[in-house]
Symmetry: D2
Subunit: 413 residues, 4 copies
């Protein structure tokens, strides 16, 4: 059990907000826990720094930032007369602090390549349960808020909805560290406009333009950063190198891996198995960016040509060429490319399976539905932003944009 030491009031320096204060000892002790410290070693944006060199910030920073915003949001809502007890305020803050505990390193990639039956939210819940035990049940309410079972629904929405503290922090932070200043949003203004109506989070009518701006900024970040074609190339290359490593491992080829990585290369668990397999969660808790990237460095010299080639390409940033299109690529074009790859890499085993990627990605800037953003008018009525906006065609923003892409070694590489 964590000891009760005096003077645990800690302040973090944060380039985004200036100062982030830790509100109480329980927060402090959780931050000190190895589960939380691990987030220091998981970059928020995986390989994005290969395109935006500043994007090295971690889920540790993001979690603290989201907690900081939660303190502010709770204060705003209380000042508007919403009843939120001290215990609820603490629990909401803890819920957001812990919301990313279940993230794998290079998560979007690894969720697919390794832990592909399990979402990071499910994993976060598993870790929060463990921590709850460790902290003698003091995280009960936080867990309830996180998983949506707590009666006051708006507290859950502060943690997870289309205008939650998670999104506000990550948009602001990703924009800040990537240097894509166009994606920035005014966290303070947005949060100051929040209110609660019928137990649901709403935005005051005068905040409608800020919400529009938020949606547009999110859309911009998607196309400019999260789905930037070179970032996608790097991520798919990483996915394929891990797929190859897994295939080699499972067919008995030796390759370097940390114990944690080795476990996941060998096994293929779903959430239930993971939950019941005690050491599996321990392995997960030991996995971070260092396991993955260091393995790549080791694999650059492996005798398997595919593994070595892909690893070297990522480490030295010789990334694949990407073609993007609104249409599906013509089969003939694709076949030609594949033939060329087969020829160029004739001494590779199954070259096109690992060196040619054909995928599609989609994004909709706004998702109307159960976690929609509602606008509160002065007469007390609420309305979905897609109705309330007098001009911005948010219903159009809600339509997913699908982009097809193919990805393969640059001719000269």
């Amino acid at each position: 059990m964590p000891s009760t030491k005096p003077n645990k009031k800690k302040i973090f320096n944060d380039p985004v907000y200036g100062f982030v204060s830790i509100p109480d000892e329980l927060h402090f002790d959780i931050i000190e826990h190895p589960y939380f410290q691990r987030l220091r070693r998981i970059k928020q944006l995986g390989l994005t720094h290969l395109v935006y060199p500043g994007a090295l910030h971690t889920r540790f920073q993001h979690s603290l930032g989201a907690m900081h915003l939660m303190q502010y949001a709770i204060g705003v809502l209380k000042a508007k007369g919403q009843v939120i007890s001290a215990e609820e305020a603490q629990a909401a803050s803890l819920a957001i602090l812990l919301h990313d505990l279940g993230h794998a390193p290079y998560s979007h990639t690894l969720e697919k390549a390794i832990a592909h039956h399990i979402s990071h939210e499910e994993l976060s819940i598993l870790f929060m349960r463990r921590l709850n035990k460790y902290f003698n049940g003091r995280l009960e309410m936080a867990n309830a808020i996180f998983n949506g079972s707590y009666p006051k629904k708006f507290l859950h929405q502060l943690v997870s909805s289309q205008l939650d503290m998670d999104r506000i922090d990550y948009l602001k932070r990703d924009s800040f560290f990537s240097g894509v200043s166009d994606g920035t949003i005014s966290d303070e203004r947005l949060i100051s406009m929040l209110d609660v109506a019928d137990d649901r989070l709403v935005v005051e009518a005068k905040g409608i333009y800020s919400v529009e701006k938020f949606i547009i900024a999110r859309r911009l970040m998607y196309w400019q950063v999260y789905l930037h074609k070179t970032v996608l190339a790097a991520e798919f290359m990483l996915m394929n190198v891990l797929k190859r490593a897994r295939q080699l491992t499972q067919s008995g080829v030796e390759l370097f891996a940390s114990p944690a990585l080795a476990f996941f290369l060998k096994h293929d668990l779903n959430t239930a198995e993971l939950e019941n397999h005690d050491s599996a969660l321990d392995y997960f808790a030991a996995l971070d960016d260092f396991d993955i990237f260091f393995a790549l460095k080791m694999w650059t010299n492996h005798s398997d040509k595919t593994l070595a080639y892909l690893s070297k390409s990522i480490v030295n940033r010789q990334l694949f060429k990407v073609e993007l299109s609104n249409q599906v690529f013509e089969q003939e074009y694709v076949d030609n490319l594949k033939s060329k790859i087969t020829a160029d890499f004739h001494d590779f085993n199954q070259a096109t399976e690992y060196l040619f990627i054909q995928e599609s990605t989609s994004n909709n800037a706004y998702n109307p539905g159960h976690s929609s953003i509602n606008i509160l008018f002065k007469n007390g009525e609420t309305m979905d932003i897609s109705q309330a906006s007098d001009q911005l065609n948010i219903s159009m923003l809600a339509k997913p944009v699908v982009k097809n892409f193919i990805c393969y070694p640059k001719p000269e590489n």
Copy 2:
């Protein structure tokens, strides 16, 4: 004639961009001219500072800022292989430097209340002609670029179009000084994406999200700042106090006014008259924020109750109540309000004419048409942004939004 002194390389400190350098002596001498110095005394946003106290920046700062952006834009275009001679670069820079010379103080208001037959662009042209004579014809090309007669049309578009240096600077600057950080835009990114195709300014395809963001930011600034209802109230009150002053003047009542203001209260000139009436332009050149606001201060003690009441209300910031609506206000509601005003201000002459305002305002975020924003694709094709944007319904943004409002003394005042 301006002397030729050594060391006229001057750098201005600008909170927005850091440093703004004056590129050459001709720029320097123009900045020193009283016509340009007058812009130091004309706030960019008139009475907006009554709502956003930081919005005290002047057309002087804005003109220098737009000139700064022009230097950057010219550099970007030349680096992309566009042919722009040193003389053209200088002329484009001078054209944007001088583009606001014809602004009246509290211009949106005064253009209506005083100089209502004349646009500030027409006046800018008159002043630029005078300066051209003074500088022995050295502003010839700048004037041609400004009025659109210069062959390379894209140079004019840098000065005046939907994505010109004027707009980029004023959005950025107005957002900065008002503190409405949501309205900010990334000038550097936008400009770095500019190019020229078929003698027209275009934006590279990868800049499409930044353009969307620019349009949305502009829209946000319109509703949040430029057409903020309290700002509108202040502006209409100012318009009415000047209307009253003009009426009193023309019916022979004595009231304080600077010589320049007195001239415009008395006369009602159109552009042609102004041009031919030499001293009229001199009077205009003498008119600045001090003439207007100081007159208000003097009028607070005038015996005409309407004049005094409106002046006092502005000076002490006891602004009218504003009601805004998408619909036209019901006649009965309006009549009731007017009756109440007539009763409350029974000792005023024509109370409702000056104390009740009923207007509508409209804004469209984007104007397709001859100065539309075109996107340049990699295959060399260009397309209007409203077609090119795959999701944002810009055609919808192009539809003007009309808002009706009424404005009258607060009950308790």
Copy 3:
């Protein structure tokens, strides 16, 4: 008496801090009062904008900013266990809100030229007394904190000392708006390090470097902005034009002046007279930047050549040449310059008295003494920063630097 209206929670947008919240109704009502609204029309830095065009911010903005910092400081001290009642917190906040009420327009200049027997602090006290009556004694404690008679001395130090909220805000704000980014300080960090020991404000030991940086930044702002030689030139020219106006007025020459300005050109009151002369304070309350600068504009056409020449020079920014020296200027050099002025302006009356300025200015970056900055060590001891700093020779910074300067029309003007 101010009415009690609902919903007076107001938030100002501030480019420096983002949002500034008005904590309660009393603050709100005071801000609405014409005495406070007048501060909107008094620029913080007088004519400095002639050198730094962004420096147009007002004492209104500064007063709100300092109030904002006070809220933060009170919160920090309470979190460290200092006992501050809600009433004391409000009073300290009101005291700083009102601390600049007694400032004249272009204050450094006008204090010398017009109200030269009265300090702005004395005038602030007079206004605060009046407001206290108007608000039925609710400003009693605020006044006591302001004038230093309240028992808890550290509250007064928050309002007025070498590390008070006034200085922290003005340094930060002046640096921000002038664009002299080197002068910026970290308000949040500095304030977060404050504590109280023996009823005196102290800085925690780990804040020592931030205090040093604060002192250096202040010094930099002095020499780079407040005592910038062109700013000094403009200020002395303004002082002389007002001296001339006063002399003309008192010798019966007619010249334009607003009633308030006319009063001060005619009379020469000390604090006691001002206090007892009821309308004098009213005149003062009517005086703002518009009275002064508008008068200059009118005087540009006055028949008195000195008055007209100086006025025109300021309005069109044709400022005097300034020479600065650590030594006193040689008499012969000065005499030669004066002779030249007498010759060049032979048709002026007493040319050198108004067109030649010889002054000295001094500044010390740090003032040890009763309001010194004390450092609190972990063992509970406190020490003056000039002793505590292990390396920075703050005692040296305490030695005033004296600079001599002369100022006269540029040869070519």
Copy 4:
């Protein structure tokens, strides 16, 4: 040999400066080289992020930033009439781009623990020679500027002196990412004041306050960040864990290490050996943060208790307690602490050698001497800043401040 591809004009997004442009193809090809890409995997500030979580920026970002400043500086000097050929400008830019090539991961620590006979400057020179060969001698002039043999000495000073682009970028960048905003400096202002006199870099007299501020900011960053006591603790723990690993390796105990790390744990080379030992430099080029930190992760389970304990403490951020003092610690106090450690860790081998650290650190904010900062006065004279500053006692800043510290496991851990 690098191919000559079209369109290598690349722009990096940088949160610090906005955009950083790659000036030409040679720069581009060097940046693509694995030697330079390796800098992506070396954090600028080692373990500092354990205290300032944002401080994750890399030497890659810093090198690009310094190159960006160099472009600006060259432009400033040329605008002031200094003759700098296009070739020299390119070479100076390349020299600064490559100046950090020889840095080891966690460099301050590793220079001591592993490569302790070799400075990173010497290593940079070795790598630059190799690159020069690879690029067919095109880096000849860059190398000469870097090592100081190029005739125009001021070019070397831009790369390495007390006011070089290296320092200006790292101060600005470290302040930015650590969030210690007090340490920021105005790069643009400082550089705009540079000039050359007698082939030496000088600062114009009006820049004296900015230089003072720069020195003070650097001092602040030293005590607040670089020598922050918890950072020091982490660094010394890392140093000791590597010392232990080296001792175990050399006495034949097996422990995990990447090939590169293993090489340096086994060998103990000086510069000459490194230069002649071809694969040694290859090993060095393969060493980055991942090798070190991943090894720590693996060692947490090693059977050697010291190795495991120290590794675990760093990975989970359970850092030693640090005591700092201006005086040398009393022997008795130290002996008591050591006895306690010996008792607490009785089953460790040589506990105090690895778990007790006693060191001293020193820093002087300014170093007068051959690379001193000279101020250029208008009369053409130059003077060392320590003489030129009228008040700041820079000679005092030049005196090194020595701090003693001891560092050992916290009682409760």
